[in-house]
Amino acid sequence: MRALKEVSFDLHAGEVHALLGENGAGKSTLIKVITGAHQPDGGRITVGGVEVSQLTPARARALGIACIYQQPALFPDLSVAENIALRLEKTSAWQRVRWAEIARRARELLQRIGAEIDPATEVRELSMPEQQLVEIACALGAGARIVIMDEPTASLTQKEQHLLFAVVRELRAQGVGVIYISHRLEEIFALADRVTVLRDGESVGTNPVAAINEASLIRMMVGREVSAIYPPAESAPGEVVLALCGVGCAAGGVRDVSLEVRAGEIMGLAGLVGAGRTELARILFGITPADSGEIILHGRRVAVASPRIAVAAGIAYVPEDRRRHGVILEMPIAANMTMAIHPRLFPGAWLRFGAERALALDYIRELAVKTFGPEAPGGSLSGGNQQKVALARWLATQPKLLILDEPTQGVDVGAKGEIHKIIRRLAKDGLAVLMISSDLPEVLGMSDRIAVMRGGTIAAMLPGHSDAHTVMAAALGQPGKAAA
């Protein structure tokens, strides 16, 4: 798999150039190439008319390329002025700190972008957008000619966004080129001069914003056939296993989620990164318990206050970050598989290695885990096979509801197909499956119904054989225009 394929991209001085694409389209990779974090294995990079070979992060910075990340990387215990000074000055360790000079410079830079921040403030007292402004000031102070902003508004309020937009326009007026990444189409139309759409690592096209509309942008982002072959649905959904009634959790940013999942049904949970899908799964599994609404399992209201209660109630959750939370790499496969069922498998509190081994062998066979045996450590397996081990752990709890978070992320194509077949078979056996996936073809191919999340709640409930365009439009919040 190549993350980027022959992408051409250009940025003028005094321009805001938006970069758009669904999750995994290659935006981050392109940014990493531009900032020197990744070396491209082909093509040319030209900055200010001069070709640059071997772009490194240090060199990129020297050329005036700066990236403002969503989470500013500032030192919270130092003042704004000190943070700016640390970025900009190369002082030797024994040189005296010229406090007045540092403060003056910080004030000047902050004024240039119209930010009203006292340079003496400690960074920890600043809001997120204010910290972003400090980052931008640092970038300007370092003489940045190219500023990359990676979803800068993702965690901002409406008011804070307007402040940021004003700064972006100010940068443009001063002749800085801005690469602006966002999922929000309205921002792109409000701010950008041109927009480039990436899809599957390829550039689909660059257009002036004035010459394009939202519907065509969405078409460019999606525009592809569901190429892989997915196992077909074989059974009609049965009774309702899970019903959510206005479920929310302020800490997780999820609000007012209502949906039903039936036995034998695969419910796809689509949405862009940050839409609240994983947060919803964490609520259902009791990791960050709901603070409003009702979770009803098999007709009975359940207060899922901890993973322990969730497991007892018949909920299983295969988390997204399998390397961290799914499979303990140092432990044998067998121990990993039985971890969630210790009370049942070992009623007398001591381990019965025979029973454990038998169970592990069953799942290794059933899920076709490629390994030399149940004693092999989890870390010896490939990504796809680790995912199968994580799956086995939760199937062993004999759940009624299986929540899968990005079940095939980082899994090779062959194993992906196998995992899809396993998921379909589990549904056929009467399991209710809630599948979170950022892989649009996977959602479309596997789901019986699709719930699309946006802004922490369900934005649309679509039938399984919806087209990619409709799902993407709902995820972007453009349902009306998409229908047109």
Binding site: Y317, H325, M339
Partner: protein
Amino acid sequence: MGKYFRELSVAAALVLLLVVLAGIAPAFFELQPLLSRLTAQTPALIVAVGMTLVIICRQIDISVGSQFGVCAVVAGLLAAAGLPLSVVLLASMAAGAAMGALNGWLVAGLGLPSIVVTLATMVTWQEALRLFQQGKFINLPAGVQWFGLAQQRGQLTLIATAVVLLTCAAWAMKNLAAGRHVYAVGTDAEAARLAGINPRGITLGVFILLGALAGLAATLNIVQSPQVDPKAGGGLELKAIAAAVVGGVAVNGGRGNLWGVFVGLLLLATINPALTYLHVEAYWEKAIQGLVILLAVVADGIRSRKGGAK
């Protein structure tokens, strides 16, 4: 072989040292002094067992020496008051468990770092004990020393107790679900929590167990002499941690084996008498012990870097 390489290499070092001693100083193996030296290590061994579980759980407890001192005084006062040894033992273990529970609650319940919590409790218990006891020794009635047995039988009883305890603990760590939970929490507390294990409960549990074992060790220590020294626990925490580290327990949790710790403790404890028998000045003991610990840490560092690269 590969799985226990670390433990086996420490054992090999110990065997090598013993072989050298057998060749140069066969007097090292005379029964009575050997027995006395082993007996003197039983409290440290028992504390090291508890310490190992705490370290595998990715925590540390540097207050065990102080806990040991408090327990020794509790046991000494009760024994001096003429209470039967079984009551003395239970009271001493209960006192240790209570102190362990306080540490555990502060660490697991409030989420405070264990190094800071146990540093604070270490100083607190130590100073409280100093004010309370004013450094005075407690004289024990006859019949307490060696449980009223002959010295050699008393020593054998102590050694047997410690070894049986070690064996049970090693068995439990491998064969009880609770033992596996300790490893799981030490490797990845969040993964364990997602699997329905209660990391706070496990953490609290290992601290309480270590406290209770400190109480047991303190009782087994006072029967070795006619008086109770209230400062007897000084440095015990370092001894226990050193044994664990030399024995191959990973300081950042999740890996370790109690038999390795046993061998590690024996190796560290053999260095001092070995120096005496080899006519090297005893001043070198601490330096050589430090060197052994450093060697173990460096070996683990190199090993985990090789393993972790993948």
